[in-house]
Symmetry: C2
Subunit: 210 residues, 2 copies
């Protein structure tokens, strides 16, 4: 049942077909709404599917941004101000969250365009999404330029965290599924993950074949 | 219902509590089994939850690896040979896939220890997991050292792809859910995502509030 696609076959694919295939095969991702505000006060909100856990001490997350060859409001605002927010869309926010990917004119805020609500907390300069069950204030820590294709990895530090503490288990694990947080694949497919199990820390003497 | 955890509160958390919290808040991820073979022929298999889509043309994925301060078989094998494989675990592979995270002695292959089956294809030097519904041959393209915490981002190029072509939609989108591919959160929680919807390409004049 398995077919092999060689490097030559992958290179020969139609550009949009390959983009959909390679994006979707990167698998299940956490969509996040990235909230920023420009130096002159214009708010921006954009959905990203490239959140990467970098480390827990200090608490660092990465975000991949496409090459800075055209206007990129989120990237420019982060580089200008050093501040951004991560906001996790729940299932009932699917439509407006996705709609933030539309190319609005720079002077139009995606908050106004999609109906999601700006929220400011603790004087953090970047806006949060009031409807999001998890909100994280991030400050830019490092920028890495990827030579292979000119994309940019922004690494930020968790500066504050706002969520319902009932989601957090005694060992620190946050049950995102209890807040109906969305997962996504590629640029347009949304999923609701069903919790299966948390497995025990694996040791060599456990659970091997007999 | 929302509680705020300040930077000071996050820094003051118990180390393992914070690790679980920050890892799990990075959200839904695609677990992949990374197959490698050392220069002297020893196979290795390890589960990673840090797969990142870097670009589609060329087809590039990133993989975050923890600091090289202790033995890291996967990292060392990739740096030595330039070749690795990505194998996607389906729901019925959850237990052996997780078990590959145990610290086996270097001379013991996780394939033998977990019962997952080595498969070689098209003379690719790194081993695939025969049971995996998606198998990707990857060649190392770039290494980025992250200064913020000494983690390493390995960027590789898709060299060949093996999967059931029935998973691929006419526009290239691969329906991983049709193969019951697992999602994960943090280091130990596994999920089965339920497909909701693929949304249309967002344009400014669509779907705004009225």
């Amino acid at each position: 049942m398995t077919t092999t696609f060689s490097l030559e076959a992958i290179q020969a694919m139609d550009r949009r077909f390959r983009a959909n295939l390679v994006n979707s095969l990167a698998g299940y991702k956490q969509p996040v709404l990235v909230g920023t505000r420009s130096a002159y006060g214009q708010t921006n909100l954009a959905i990203f599917n490239s959140l990467l856990h970098i480390g827990a001490d200090p608490a660092l997350y990465g975000l991949l941004v496409r090459p800075h060859t055209v206007r990129r409001d989120t990237l420019e605002n982060i580089l200008e101000t050093g501040a951004y927010t991560l906001n996790y869309p729940s299932v009932h926010m699917m439509q407006p969250a996705h709609q933030t990917s539309a190319k609005y004119p720079r002077e139009e805020s995606e908050f106004d365009a999609t109906g999601l609500t700006v929220e400011y907390r603790d004087d953090w300069p970047a806006p949060f999404v009031k409807e999001a069950p998890v909100q994280i204030a991030m400050s830019l820590s490092e920028r890495l330029d990827i030579q292979s294709n000119n994309t940019i990895l922004l690494i930020g530090r968790m500066n504050a965290l706002h969520l319902d503490p009932g989601l957090i288990q005694p060992d620190g694990f946050a049950e995102l599924h209890q807040a109906n947080v969305l997962a996504c694949v590629g640029l347009d497919a949304y999923y609701q993950p069903r919790f299966l199990e948390r497995l025990a820390y694996a040791r060599p003497d456990h659970d091997g074949p007999t």
